[in-house]
Symmetry: D3
Subunit: 238 residues, 6 copies
């Protein structure tokens, strides 16, 4: 029995709100149950130094948690003077996941910077970030097309992410915080609209996991990501 | 004529939403028009080192802006490795303003940490922060009373803040971003429910200002803060 | 009765020594009683990046305290690896105050950097810094004129600063450290030679202050700044 | 055809040299072909603050690359003043991998700090680090047993790591640098002696990968790790 | 011919002003010609962590230059967020030099922190710092004796420092900035009242130097330090 | 009697291994007994900003210790976020020592970066670094000649370094760690092939030292450096 009474293959209630704030070229509030992440996409008409003059664009991401997005207050990273290893790990993952579905040459010499800021955390902030960031990125790209700066979209297909894990011996989809902090295995899966993997990151929290368990988890993830991509499409059509 | 067509002594539409997020002891989204700040109050059962064993509490504040809360993306302070001078100035101001209305001995040896994070900026983020933070602080204190940890409130009276300035030669209340970036004089005023000043910070952006102009600005501020305190009371009663 | 036996509207003994050190284009030791600040002005024939090619100059300031300028030794900011919020607040104030009286276009594409370093502290270091920095700035500008790099001064008028406060219920001028650490209200006022305000920063340390108290304090400040500007003029004529 | 002419399921030549340096409680030079990593284990008779008094131990890891371990010189992280995101990601992975096979209560209130420093890099530094660190950790634990500080080993089973990837359309084991910088998919797998997974981190560098490809890669990894654990056992028996 | 027309074995005019500022337990302005350094000694009734409970004291030093103490403005180390290698090298040298003449057990469990801040630089700031710091340290120690906290001085003998170098082929004493920036060999020598060496740091700036040149330089340094110690004694007697 | 039973003028066993790693243009492992330092030389076809366009090259050095190169684990400087004063002092010394024997104009507008990383420490890491770095630098320069980028070597002569000290009252050559941590005087001497001094850094650890002691130490150093240069030549001929 899951703490939330969800079925083992049931996502939390997912909400995707576009144009959540008004300055960014893409601005999406994504909610996976009580996890709420604001994902903005900012278009900058320049590229990082290592790409200057190479005729291609870049997509990068930064991640942060508001100090009291969590159950007990976390220290503010800006006040501490550095980003934690966890933060850097997550923002690198978000960036790689999005770049996997973008044709950088087609984007042209410009950069899209994604900011994922966690307003409220209840597990799964990195998967919500990737899933919401894709929608914000799409809005920003569509804005470039509407402004005549791009003739067609450099986005090749959808990408979304979900967590799966073994909780009290059962494989479950989309772990919330109570599950996440008490699970044996935790896996984050990033997949494309065509059903291929972009990232698979599985970690044995307590006991190591078998190949059979891994297969069950991947099946669950595949199901969840299909659902999420359907929700992304609905939001973008809305 | 103001860009927003407001009267010279007219506040923007102000909304105060309590319990905006679920983990913090006080959590308030305050909106001054398009300026939106999330103010949380976190109760910690300890005090900073310089107050250990002195039988009194502390209230402190931190401030931040989401990178794309602004018109063009600002660099993330956590990634840069330090808070700007402006950020530190604002968070010190918020902290002092709140401490001015709290009886530290009555609070007991605990600390309340206020986080003001700007979700969307359109001028006046510091005054919105102070005004919203007071409500979050009150909710946190009321929680301590409800939990039997305090027998009565250490908050002596209300406190709120507003900006006033001279825009195109006219004294106006509650400057939005277009006014703020083009005004001659900018003044932030923090006042209590009993009509006294906690902070007055006036700055000549272009031309220096006269004593007469200052008096006009203070009159406007007094009017605006009375309105804000009425709104705080309504929100707390809601 | 003030600890120093001064009258309520009496400045401390003020001394302004020009050409205090020999390398800087302007070098002034200013003493407000036991507070001693070395203010230097350095002319640099370039401007910060945000002003490149805009045909105007810049004036900026940095502030520091020698570790043992104070009663108990403060930690050296260079060794700690960052400037405190207080330091940044003060150096931003000094910079704004000076820029308010300089015509940046007339200065041309060059920068004047002001350094205010506190040799000995006894209250009022920021007001002494502004008052002394103006003299150092003037010397640097006069050097540019003498060298034929400027045909006339871009300085429009004098600027000086003083603190006022309510100490044991009485409004007093130019607080020294014993008064500053025990006062109810503390206000720093920056005014021009023509009697207008550049900055007003009033803070209720204990109790909030009334409009009437504020008016009394501003009267005192006005009187003090007139005296300081007379002293600046005498020093510059000397 | 692989650049090194290896078969697709062939490890590079692996050498494990124990007691490589003389101060550390465990000191192992591990070589995966031209990749050379020095792994040391340091026993400290204390635990990090969050574990004080909980009756259990800790294993943690730090990772670094000598500036010229790579083809072109990398900037020294100590001189830059921070560890890169990649460095933090790798050292967190090493730590988690080792902790997965250690019984922290049986270790007692002490900490073993693993340092993995890359002397020469040719791809696979993180998998070599984990594989070598396990041997260094074992030597350190055996030293504690020999000294009578532990009665039996808190290490439950072996752990080792290998990379697998899709290079020019073919699944290959243990990628060297030419393969790593030109592969479509890159996966790092950490497994135990009993054939279970501790970590699986798969990343699509170019194209996303299918479930079938993933299965092929996991088969290869399983084979490679069995070989590595045989080599660890031989080294420890030596 | 030296730029200053001094004889090759002639010190610049040296002035030692005690009680230069009022807060520190020892406060000395030392001038070697146009080089002016403020040396303060602060007594702290605690010791660094590595000496806790060992029944002995400590003497340490910090060094800094005001940004415009030099010919062209240097960047402020506090603003840059770190002390340069040169600064650290000098402050370590000052600390070691003073500790060489203090009996740490006799000092008791307290620390004396020396701050050497360069007000104006014209070469030889480190040697002036050591020479002046000794006088400030002595004043602080005498204060402890006067207050009954020490019964006799833990200072065993005098210590002073001077630079010597080869300038245009001639060995000269006490290099000023024009000589220092154009010399072939530069040596800083720290000696005690009994004529022994505490530190000798010789550096070939251009050409390497011979044993014979070294001997000539050491003779000069010995002469200069005797003169400085005479001046220290006169100042302390004053 | 020395702990190692060496004669007072006897070096430890010195081994110089060239081409120790494969990426760097020069790569030398130097061993002074149990002290082992990896010295690499990296050629970069650019110069630091202050030399741009001046038609000359540069040689610079960085130094580091692996955390467990020492008897008890040192904190990793990259993790602490800064290099210690000692590290900076040593790397500055290595750079100056090498630059003293290189004709910068003859090197052309390129930079050679030396990295000295201590694999195992037993005293004398800075002198081993300089002695080994010279060999790595020579290899890098010879590579430039072989590649036709230089027509002749800009290296004017050999340079090497050794420590000498007074241990239990006796002047000894090449101190190992037990001697170094218990000696009265410690001197590091850097000399050229022609027998001239580049650097002499003598420090009284306990008691100050006399001119006579200094002379004895310099004699010893001269003897040791001659031996080291013979070993450098043999290694380069090998």
């Amino acid at each position: 029995m899951r703490p939330s009474s969800r079925l083992s293959d049931e996502l939390r209630s997912v909400r995707i709100t576009r144009q959540y704030t008004r300055h960014a070229e893409g601005s999406v509030l994504i909610e996976f149950g009580d996890t709420k992440v604001l994902c903005t996409a900012s278009v900058e008409e320049n590229v990082p130094p290592f790409l200057k003059g190479k005729g291609q664009g870049w997509v990068t991401a930064e991640y942060g948690m508001l100090p009291r997005s969590t159950n007990t207050r976390m220290r503010r990273e800006a006040a501490q003077g550095k980003q934690s290893g966890r933060t850097q790990e997550i923002q690198r993952l978000i960036g790689r996941s999005l770049r996997a579905v973008v044709d950088m040459a087609a984007l042209g010499e410009r950069q899209i910077v994604i900011d994922c800021d966690v307003i409220q955390a209840d597990g799964g902030t990195r998967t919500a970030s990737i899933t919401g960031a894709f929608v914000a990125l799409t809005d920003a790209v569509n804005g470039l097309i509407a402004a005549g700066k791009l003739s067609k979209s450099p986005i090749r297909e959808h990408v979304a992410a979900i967590s799966v894990g073994v909780y009290k011996g059962v494989a479950v989809l989309d772990l919330d915080y109570p599950e996440d902090s008490d699970c044996e295995t935790d896996m984050n899966v990033v997949m494309t609209g065509s059903g291929k993997f972009v990232e698979v990151q599985g970690t044995a929290e307590g006991e190591a996991f078998s190949r059979a368990e891994m297969n069950t988890l991947l099946d669950l993830a595949e199901k969840g990501i299909k659902d999420l991509i359907t929700l992304q499409k609905a939001a973008l059509a809305g």
